[in-house]
Symmetry: C2
């Protein structure tokens, strides 16, 4: 029997299959809750004297967690009158004592907090904060979290939790999930707010595909978009936090990440598939085949000091932009640049160039010189002649050939990749790229980088 | 004895050497005058009844002729009341009878006129016109000529005639002399006016080098430059004819020709040499050596009908501009285009391309696609995928590789070089360029085209 599926049918079928894979099962959730109860009982005696409130926040509490992603956010909220000073002095000391039987790692946000690992399966962040009554008095993300939990629990219908899960998994799949600098994308809270706003995963996707334009302005309250645009000038994605509209919940979203999401949304509507949620690892043989046809150079950077991933990523992205811009403005015609860092080994810079660089060691190209009338004209001509090159006039302007050498490209890379804790740079044999790691994230990155196809698309040959 | 020459000394020495070569000798001038007298006596009986005035005009009469360039402009001016109708009906008939013993060729300007050859050495144009009292009543170049002769004879001091000769020869040498469409440059009259204005050859050169900017505005009368700029909008070179300031004597000067002249003037002041007046033919071996390193295609156009050189040149220049613009706007990265025509054989198109076209048959290049937000985005991606190419996002915009094939370049040439009497086109073996002709003009053109060095510069290796 022949059956024609509509696009809606296909999307429904994919969604329900994906949900089977991403909805945490009851046992898992119960275990997480049980662990939270244990932690709470272990922490309570150490914070009872100051009347602290111990609370679970994050996606488990909001009912929007993904399977296998059951990290606990345990908040210890201290009465406001004790203040930050008390937190600084007492929190880590007391929490360490309470959790001495776990593997504990001290980390830094606005205040130091503890990350503990339980059975290699769960991770819990134990975070200090102040009890605050009015969200407009909050100063930090930690302070606001309880209000976020409360808002989402109130506004999200139970059936919409799965919609959040689909959206989060889609965002992960296409590489735009996370407010960290590395991704510059959508936080879990933003994903939840989008479902509150539009009602369902597919509505968000349709909205993004059809009407999002940078800067995207979305309101859950009654702000005037024009005012928001001015107030959050420079933001690509403006979504005022409903619990504190002076703050842009989407501030982390970078222009390029937004573009990736919009493109993915359009591609999904055109040709929906599970690939958007769980991209397939590309075939290393195909990657290696394509790599033969292009010209690229790879460098490993040294990290001279430990620093938070966000800071290092910020420096990496500055290096990426700076190298590209210098090469571009000096006429070296860079094709593509990207950075990769697994946050464990050394960061990589991948730079792709016109193939002539690899074939001949230089690019021979026409450069536009100054207008004939300018005083630069004579200098341009002298430079051409000194390099044994000619020049010609077209429409009032001088033109000539220039040899752009690979050596100069490498010099520019060396000169522009010492930022912050990063130091330039060891050239890597391009072939080593293909054996360096087989981590999913690395292979997906390598595929996108060499094949120039988003990870969610199947390149058909 | 060591002697240091100043630049002024060098220029003086060069000027006097050049003048020796370009100043016509007395014998030559006398012969020209004698021939004019003979022609006048032969013409007189045929135009006596209408009281015509027979006059000599042009550079011989003005005393600014170059040696070996002693063409006679014989004007037969008819009383105004007889009018153009009489000229049309009677002039050619009567003039042919009067000059029946010469080799006569009928040519066309505003009216038909006769060109006669005498002893293979002199050429005389016998041209009809109306006797007009006020230059402001003139309508055609022919009508104005008597006033030009009169003005120059009055305004030019005798010692300045050599200055005109130097300037004209310099303009010839650097390829900007002539108001015909082929050159789009400075007429003899404009050269004379420039000497009237600035006093000497070197003053004109200094003025051009130091302060000419397009549009150049030069007045011999009292016009307001701002008014002139508006009145002669679109002109690159504005020099109101002093005998009729509503007319721009420099109207023929094209932007690129002006730029060539200015550049040559600067180069001359920097490093004066005789090359500017008499460029040396470049060495064909060097041209052939350089040609090996570049990628170019040559085509011969067919002329399907005879037409005036100005018209054909106009069509050639349109073809040149059109092919370049289409290739450029469609992303084929043309390097250089030019046309050559000796006004006898078939016109040539020379098109230079990035070397990849010759090596691989196509150019593999990054193209900038539409912004991600535009509706073109999906079409761009589909096109990339259909061509088995990827795409990527940078700053809100899509990019991708494209193969620009040589076949398409050739198709664009074929489709865009049928204008007027010109029909596209037979591909020419590039090697044939080097044996096609050894005419000075051709070899100078070929040198400039391949070497990309102005003809007046010695390329030093």
């Amino acid at each position: 029997m022949l059956k024609i599926f509509s696009r809606e049918d296909v999307i429904k079928k994919i969604s329900s299959e994906i949900l089977e894979r991403i909805r945490p099962d009851e046992r898992e959730l119960e275990e997480a809750r049980r662990i939270y109860e244990i932690l709470r009982e272990e922490l309570r005696p150490y914070f009872e004297d100051v009347n602290a409130s111990i609370q679970l926040h994050g996606s488990i509490e909001k009912g929007t967690a993904l399977k296998g992603d059951l990290d606990l956010d345990v908040f210890i909220l201290i009465p406001k009158e004790l203040g930050k000073e008390w937190i600084r002095r007492e929190f880590i000391k007391r929490a360490r004592k309470a959790l001495s039987k776990y593997h504990v790692e001290e980390r830094y946000a606005e205040h130091p907090y503890l990350r503990i690992k339980i059975d290699d399966k769960f991770e819990a962040d134990v975070v200090p904060g102040l009890k605050i009554d009015d969200p407009r008095e909050t100063e930090t993300a930690v302070d606001r979290t309880p209000f976020h939990t409360q808002y989402i629990k109130k506004m999200l219908r139970e059936d919409q939790r799965d919609e959040v899960r689909l959206l989060k998994r889609f965002m992960k799949g296409v590489g735009v999930y996370g407010a960290e600098v590395k991704i510059g994308g959508f936080s879990g809270y933003v994903a939840e707010l989008l479902i509150v706003k539009y009602g369902s995963f597919i509505k968000v996707i349709e909205e993004a595909a059809e009407s999002w334009r940078e800067p995207v302005i979305i309101t859950l309250t009654n702000e005037d978009p024009k005012v928001l645009k001015r107030f959050f000038q420079g933001s690509s994605f403006i979504l005022p936090d409903p619990v504190d509209p002076r703050r842009n919940a989407g501030a982390a979203v970078r222009s390029e990440t937004l573009a990736r999401f919009i493109l993915a949304a359009r591609a999904f509507l055109k040709d929906p598939s599970e690939n958007f949620f769980f991209p397939e690892k590309p075939d290393m043989k195909i990657i290696m085949g394509d790599a033969e046809k292009i010209c690229f150079k790879v460098f490993e950077l040294d990290l001279v000091k430990e620093e938070s991933p966000d800071n290092v990523w910020g420096q990496l992205l500055r290096i990426k932009r700076r190298i590209y811009n210098v090469l571009d403005s000096e006429g070296y015609d860079p094709v593509y640049i990207d950075v990769f860092w697994d946050e464990k080994s050394k960061p990589l810079i991948y730079l792709e160039l016109p193939t002539e660089y690899c074939v001949k060691g230089y690019l021979y190209k026409v450069v536009e010189g100054p207008p004939i009338y300018s005083h630069e004209a004579v200098r341009f001509i002298e430079k051409q002649l000194s390099q044994d090159e000619g020049f010609w006039i077209k429409d009032n302007r001088l033109y000539g050939f220039r040899r752009k050498s690979l050596d100069n490209v490498l010099r520019i890379i060396r000169e522009n990749s010492n930022i912050g804790v990063l130091r330039c740079c060891n050239p890597i044999d391009p072939k080593d790229l293909f054996t360096r790691s087989f981590d999913e994230e690395y292979v997906l990155w390598l595929g996108e980088t060499i094949l120039k196809i988003p990870r969610y698309m199947n390149r058909s040959f």
